[in-house]
Amino acid sequence: MKHLEQQLRALRSSGRKALVPYFVAGLTPDWIQHVEAAVLAGADAVEIGVPFSDPMIDGVVIQEGVLRSLEAGTTLDSVCKDLSSLSTHVPLVAMTYYNIFFHYGLERAAGKIAASGLSGAIVPDLTIEESSDWRVACDAHDLANVFIVAPSSTPDRVALLAPASEGFCYASARMAVTGRAADEGDAKRVVGEVRAISDVPVYVGIGIGTPEQAREASMVSDGVIVGTALVQLILDGGDVHAIEDFIGSFRRAIDIAPVSA
């Protein structure tokens, strides 16, 4: 079992729901301090978004963040270099589109991010059917490759994805790109489908924008992923204190949720 999954299983065993914020790496010069602030305020793991020019599954807010980061000159190498100044005890998971790794060279990319302290990767446009080369590279560097299960995933696909997902399984609560949430989504059903097949921790993402939504999602899962709302805060100029307050409010919300079965 990959190290990331050992950690996240231990977290679950401790009875704590995972809070996983997403950051666009390089969005501001002090983005590393933003990550540290989030950890201080109770994040259990952090998604490090490496910007790509064509973020196919991201809504307008993350698109804007990615564009700004690219304009500031962010690259996979610069993200890894910045991460060398980050001191944290929580696991870090890369989140980017496949071309970034493919172009860098899969084996080289896996080695590079592992050496920079990342222990997992989420590649939303890499289907399980196309993933074998990348997973070989991940295995060589103890990187956990996280798969996403969607509300539209058929039972035969859930049966493929859930056992293959390492670290955790990403349950997409909605048929939508990031940042579009109104209804309560399909979190409960999707998590249930994964749990019927695998005991990997299951985290809910896509459309978790408020502490209340996080609380509800955490009640039916092992953790929540918060992206767009946080990126919006940073785009609006939110500083480390604002980030601490923001993450703190999510932490409190999910900590008062009763432990689910």
């Binding site: 064509d54 599954i57 690219l70 690259t75 289907t127 059917e129 048929m175």
Partner: protein, 393 residues
Amino acid sequence: MSESSFMSSPDARGHFGEFGGRFVPEALMPACLELESAFRDAWADAAFQHEYRTVLKEFGGRPTPVTPLPRLSERLGLELYAKREDLAHTGSHKINNVVGQTLLTKRMGKTRVIAETGAGQHGVATATAAARFGLECTVYMGEVDTKRQVLNVFRMELLGATVVPVTSGSRTLKDAVNEAMREWVSCVNDTHYCLGSVMGPHPFPWMVRELQSIIGIEASAQLHDMGVGTPDLVVACVGGGSNAAGVFAGFANTSARLVGVEAAGGSAVGMGSPGVLHGMKSLLIQDEFGQIEEAHSISAGLDYPGIGPEHAFLATSGRAEYQAIGDDEVLGALKVLSELEGIIPALETAHAVAWIMKEAGGAIPKGSKVLLNLSGRGDKDVAQVREILRAEG
């Protein structure tokens, strides 16, 4: 793959050699699989084939003729023929694809189509077929392109479609594709994404090539009937590559040289490298970090930083060759074809004409029989051409 199997089916996961495949969010995988099985089923169904061909005949204006180009032939020392996709309904080959995909949409029980468009040709064709078959239609178009192609926006609206200007990224075709994919995620139950070229995730590159192969199948029979036989060269312009794939499909297993002509500012074969974008692995124009770059061309229809995966395979396997033509060579070719043959070609098509003019007697030996795929008519471009010619004085 043996020589005789060029342009047959991709492998079970949609690969043409190392290219193609499916690189989409999991949310879209079930729709891609559903589409693949629906198309396989329909394409093997004689009733569907009959309906598709009948609609293209009665509504689409097929078969389009093959026209000898005697005056240009004489000037260039070649024997030139044009496959007249400019005479198809809506003025280009795009109608072949959208008729097939809208029929398939109905067959899948979906009630709505979405599409991306650059210049507006595919958007107009989709809006046209949607009107004909009573489907709702929304077209995503880069904001920059909505301003460059105001009349096409108006055409789509006249046809009852909604045009959504895309304001993300470079606000052109590549971003329109991103936006259509994003939208598709949230409406995939009742909506088909009618992709406009031989690109995107499997089955699109294969399906669109099959729907366009009617060009090459017709042309091959027509040249035979005219006593011309197999041409020495088949030449087509390439944006995503659908008109080229369609005409190549009729000649892939003959001795004909296949030549695709890209815009120099969007030459994915000439300047690109392997990468993954818009659901496919193909050749893409990208920077040293794998960020996709913008294409630049005088013709909006060739303004795409990639190329369909089957073309990437045909290029790397050597079965077809891909050449680039710069903006400055295009207008001259458009004028020559207009003045000598009475056909005003689309700016996209003029790239293929320009390459033939440039290489006659060079890369194209004197006396060669050349089939030009005349992918579209130039009416949509005359205002732009007029402005450029005026500015040049």
